[in-house]
Amino acid sequence: MMRMQKNRGPKRPQAVETFDAGKLELGEDFQDAECLLISEVKVLLEAQYESKKEESNFTPVYLKTLEYVQKFSRYTNRDTIKEVRALLKPTQLAPFECAQLGNLCCTEYDEIKSLVPSIGDKISDDDLDSLLKQMDSLKKYQA
């Protein structure tokens, strides 16, 4: 008996999900993009909010994001943000990993390595540990 191939109509486009933050595959548009810390986004958005308050036509996306960054901003002080950036800059980490370090604010190197697996062996455990400790103390002593 001859088998007939069933006609299932035009082939549906399947979503190609190749991006994987765990392996640091962010796609060509984002691979080398600068990643901002939540605290930095807060500074930028608040500055814009102040200057455009009179027009008061903010998009819902803008307002939701503003609310989110205000809730999760770890560093309240501009100078602290600068210092955190200065700590992260000399490391071998990708921009995305730097941002994750600054945003998640872990205290143990095991924790951050589990949450951001792409860090892997890019940085020694001791270095990572001291980096996290320094960031933590900056957070504690910010004005």
């Binding site: 993009a33 930028l44 998009t59 996306v61 939701k64 951001v116």
Partner: protein, 149 residues
């Protein structure tokens, strides 16, 4: 003219969402406005504008903090800024039980509680891009993920 093009850019792109770039949250700077072209046979003109903007693109396997929005028998929905995350019941640790009689409804274990307004640390397992929004699914059933203070 410059001012009009600038205003129009702000109005047209801010708050939009595409599969390629994620959310365009805010335009930060306008780098270049090129000479406009009038479209033949049409009254309008076209300007190419280069600008820098703050984007928000959620990636698979990225860990984000989110605020719980709704809790029901199926799972938990949470918001991380502009986009929503759904955490299915099967991706919530098994020791956290759904309690419909608590007010508000919650998932709780002996020492942790997920209810509306709680903050959770979620790993994104997948994203779906619509015309106007991104929706993600997530998990909290892994080491170091769960409710945060």
């Amino acid at each position: 003219m410059r001012e009009f093009v600038t205003k129009r850019l702000y109005r047209d792109v801010e708050g939009t969402c595409t599969g390629r770039y994620g959310y365009i949250i805010a335009v930060v700077a306008i780098l270049e406005i090129q000479m406009g072209k009038v479209i033949p046979g049409h009254g309008s003109a076209e300007f190419e504008v280069k600008y820098s903007a703050i984007l928000y693109m959620p990636f698979r396997n990225e860990v984000v903090d989110a605020v719980v929005d709704n809790v029901n028998t199926l799972g938990v929905t949470a918001n991380a800024g502009p986009f929503g995350i759904f955490i299915s019941r099967s991706y919530i640790p098994t020791d956290m039980k759904f309690d419909p009689h608590s007010n508000p409804p919650s998932y709780h274990s002996e020492d942790q509680k997920i209810e509306k307004g709680a903050m959770v640390r979620v790993k994104i397992t997948g994203t779906r891009v619509d015309a106007t929004e991104i929706f993600a699914t997530g998990t909290i059933k892994e080491d170091y993920l769960s409710v945060i203070e």
